[in-house]
Symmetry: C3
Subunit: 324 residues, 3 copies
C-alpha cells in the first residue's frame, strides 16, 4: 500500500549515495526510486544484506545495488552490484534518512486544527476538542471521541468508532474498526543504534495498517514499522494495555487479551488466541490456530495448531503436567 506519511526525495542518484556511504563512485550514475528490504525491493530500489540468514532473500531479490559488508562478498550473486561499508545497518540508516528526510522526525503534528461542525466528512459524529491534521480521509458514518488527535494524512474507513483521548498517526484504518479510549497508534518504533553519548535513531518509514473489523483496546500502544509496516489483520481484537512493536504483523481473527506484548518484527498467523500478559519475542513466527496461555513467554517459533503455555512456552499438556 502507498505510504502517504513520509516524503521521498525526488531524485536519488547512485553517486550521492556513494558519497553518503563513503564508497568510491562507480562509473555509471544510475537513479533509484527508493530503498527497501530484499524481499519488498523492486528492480530500481536500493537494498541491503546484513546477515547470512537472509541469503535466499538476497538471491531472489529484484534489487541490483546492495549495501553490504566485504565479509559477505562471496555471497553476492554475479548479477548484483555490492556497495561495501563497515556497518551495514548504520549505513542503511544514513541512506534512508537521506532519501526520507523527515523519517527521524516524530514530533507532534503542528498542522492540526479543532474539528468544527461544518467539517467536510460525511455523517461524522465527533466530540469536543478533536484535533485533525491536513489531508486526513475519514469514510462515512464514523464517530470520533473527545480530545482525540488524528494527525495529517491518516486514512480512516467507513463505520469506524474512535474513542476519546486517542492519538493516531502514520496509520491506515480500514472499515468498521473500533479504537478504544487512550490508544496511541503509529509512533516510531523503539529502534536505534546504541551510542555512548547519544543513541542514533533508526529511520522509521513504515506505517500501521489496521484492517477491517479490528478492535484496538484502551491504552494500547502500536508502533509503526521501520522499513516495513505494522499490520493488524481483519477481525482481530486486542484487549486493553496491549503493546505492539514495529513491523509486527498479526493475522486475521486473532484474540489478544490484556497486557500482551509483542517485540519487533514478529509474525502471527490467523485465529491465534493469546492469554493475558503473554509476551512474544522479536522476529518470532507463530502459526495459524495457535493458542498461547496467559503469562507465557514465546522465544521460538510456534507451528500451526499448537497449544502452548509457560515461560519459555511448551506444549500446554506438558506444562500443566509438569506443574501439577
Amino acid at each position: 500500500m502507498d505510504n502517504p506519511f513520509f516524503t521521498k526525495k525526488r531524485s536519488i542518484k547512485l553517486h550521492d549515495i556513494c558519497d553518503i556511504l563513503g564508497v568510491k563512485k562507480l562509473s555509471k550514475n544510475v537513479s533509484f526510486s527508493g530503498i527497501s528490504n530484499l524481499i519488498e525491493a523492486k528492480k530500481n530500489d536500493l537494498s541491503f544484506f546484513s546477515s547470512k540468514k537472509y541469503l535466499s532473500d538476497l538471491v531472489n531479490s529484484n534489487s541490483i545495488y546492495i549495501i553490504t559488508n566485504e565479509n559477505y562478498k562471496k555471497f553476492i550473486p554475479k548479477n548484483k552490484i555490492p556497495l561495501f561499508v563497515n556497518n551495514v545497518l548504520l549505513s542503511v540508516s544514513n541512506v534512508t534518512n537521506y532519501i526520507y528526510p523527515n523519517s527521524l522526525n516524530d514530533d507532534f503534528d503542528q498542522n492540526l486544527s479543532i474539528l468544527k461542525k461544518k467539517n467536510k466528512y460525511k455523517k461524522l459524529i465527533f466530540g469536543k476538542n478533536v484535533l485533525i491534521g491536513k489531508k486526513v480521509k475519514i469514510g462515512s458514518n464514523c464517530l470520533i471521541g473527545h480530545n482525540t488527535i488524528i494527525e495529517s494524512n491518516v486514512v480512516i474507513g467507513n463505520n469506524c468508532t474512535i474513542g476519546s483521548n486517542v492519538i493516531i498517526k502514520n496509520t491506515l484504518v480500514g472499515n468498521s474498526v473500533k479504537v478504544l479510549d487512550g490508544a496511541i497508534i503509529g509512533k516510531k518504533g523503539f529502534g536505534f543504534f546504541p551510542n555512548d553519548k547519544s543513541n542514533i535513531r533508526y529511520p522509521q518509514i513504515g506505517m500501521v495498517i489496521i484492517k477491517n473489523n479490528v478492535e484496538i483496546g484502551c491504552n494500547n500502544t502500536i508502533d509503526r514499522g521501520s522499513m516495513s509496516n505494522t499490520v493488524i489483520g481483519e477481525n482481530t481484537y486486542l484487549d486493553n494495555q496491549v503493546h505492539i512493536a514495529h513491523n509486527v504483523k498479526i493475522g486475521r481473527n486473532c484474540i489478544i487479551t490484556g497486557q500482551v506484548g509483542f517485540a519487533g518484527s514478529s509474525i502471527i498467523g490467523d485465529k491465534v488466541m493469546i492469554g493475558g500478559q503473554a509476551g512474544i519475542s522479536g522476529h518470532i513466527k507463530v502459526g495459524n490456530n495457535v493458542q498461547i496461555g496467559g503469562g507465557s513467554g514465546i522465544i521460538k517459533n510456534i507451528p500451526d495448531n499448537c497449544k502452548v503455555m509457560g515461560y519459555p512456552a511448551k506444549d500446554i499438556r506438558t506444562f500443566l503436567r509438569d506443574n501439577k
Copy 2:
C-alpha cells in the same frame, strides 16, 4: 445497586422472547422484569443455564424461565420451565440486547459539556476542559483534574479526587476515592463470540462499583461487568498500569501493585496483597489474607491465608526453595 446506565425495555413478553430464541410460543404469555444470571435473578427475571458447573445455582435460582440447551434437559428442576436453544450464550446475548437496546453501544458520550464556574456541584474544584455528561452526581468537596471526562449518569461520592486525563463511565464511585491521572474506568469488557467474518459483541449491562477510600492508579483500565458488576472493595489501593477485566470483584483492604492484570470474573478476597506484574486468570477465586508474589501467574483457586509465588503459583517457601 440500581444501574442508571442502561435503559431497560418497559414490557418484556415471553412470546417476544420466544420469537427471538426461535422457540415455539408457550401458551401463557407472561411478562419478565429483566434477565439475570441464576444467582442474582429474581422470580420474574429470565435466566439461563449453560454449564453443569452451575447446577447448584440452577436448583437454588428464583428464576422460573431458563434459556438452556436440550442436552441439559435432565438437570432442569420440575418447577422451572426450560426454553431450549442451540447456543445458550449467543441466545442470551440476543435476548439481552433486545431487553437493553443500548447495551452493545460503547460509543463516546455525545451529551458532554465543558464544566463551567457556575456548576451545580457543592465545593467542587475542577481544572480546564473538564467534560461532564448529563445527570452526573458529584458529592461535596471533590476535585476533578484537567481534560477529564465524566460521562452521563456517573455517580461520585464526597471528598473524591479525580486526576487529569481520566475517563469515567458506567461507574458508581464511593466517598474519599482517588482516581489518578489517565485511568479509564467503565468501558465494555472484552467479551464476544468469535465469528469468522465479524465477531459478535456480548451485551455488557454491568457497571463498575468503586467503594469508599479506594485509590485507582495512573493509566489503569477497569472494565465494567457484562451480566454482573465489576467491584473494587473499600480501602483497596491499585498502583499504576493495573488492568481489571469485566465482572472482577476485589475485596477490602487489598494492595495491588504495578502492572497486575485480572482476567474476567475472578473474585479476590479481603486483605490480599499482589506483587507487581502478577496475573490472575479468569473465573479464579482468591481467598482472604492471601499474598501473591510479583510476577506470579494464578491459574487455580487460592485458599485463605496462603502466600504463593511462581508461574503457575505455588507455596512461596516451595517456590523459593525450588529456585535457590
Copy 3:
C-alpha cells in the same frame, strides 16, 4: 539537586518534633533544617533508623538526632541522640508531613493556564490546549504537543521534545530529552501504611530527575521519590508502557523495552539492557553491563556483566539449557 516542589517549614524545633513523636522533651531545643535518610542527611537534619540492615549507614550518618525504636538502643552510637518511638516509619511519616505540609497532596495543579502564542519561552513550539503551571522553566528550542500538562515549578532543559497528552509534575528534565505521548511523570509513589479503615499515605517529598538525552516511551508511568529522588540516567531509553516506581535509580545508556516494571527503590547500573515485560523487585541492585532477558523476574541483586533470564532470573545459558 534543589527540590522546588515541596515547601519546607521555616522553623523546625526539636521540642515541636518531640510533641509530634509523643517523646519527652529534651532539655535543649535545637533547630533542624529538615529530615532525610541516614546517607543523605546533613549534620542538622533529623534522620531515622528502622532496620539493622542500615547499621553502617547509621554509623556513618552526619545526622545526630535519630528517630528509632527502643529495640535498636544498643546500635545507636554514643555521638547520636535517639528519639524512641513505637513505629519508626509511621513517626517519620508524621514528622515529614509536619515539615513539608503539602507532601501528602497530590491533587491536580490549580495554577495552570493555557499556553499562548506570546509566551515567555525561547523558540518554543507548542500544540493546542497545552497547560502550563507557574514558575515552569523551559529551555530553548523545545516542542510541547497537544493537551500536554506541565505543572508548576517543573524544569525542562534545551532541545526537548514533549509529545501530546503528557503529564509532567515534580520533575527536572535535562537537555535533548524526548517524552512520548501519554507518559505520566512525577506523581506520588505507591507508598503507604496499610490501615483497616483507611490507609495512611507516606509523605512523598522526592522528585523525578531525567538526565540529558533520555527518551521516555508512550504511556509510561514514572513516580517521584518519597524521601529520595527517582532518577533516569543520561542517554537511557525507555520503550512504551514501562512503569517505574518511587526512588528507582536507573544508570546511563540503558535500554529498557516495552512493559518492563520496576518496584520501588531499586538501583540499576549503566549500560543495562532489559527485555520486554521483565520485572525488577523492590530494593534490588543491578550492576553495570547487565543483560536481562524478556519476561524475567529479578528478585535478587545481579552483579556487573551478567546475562540473566528466567523467573526467578538465573544465568542465561543455564536458563536456555534447562529449558531446551
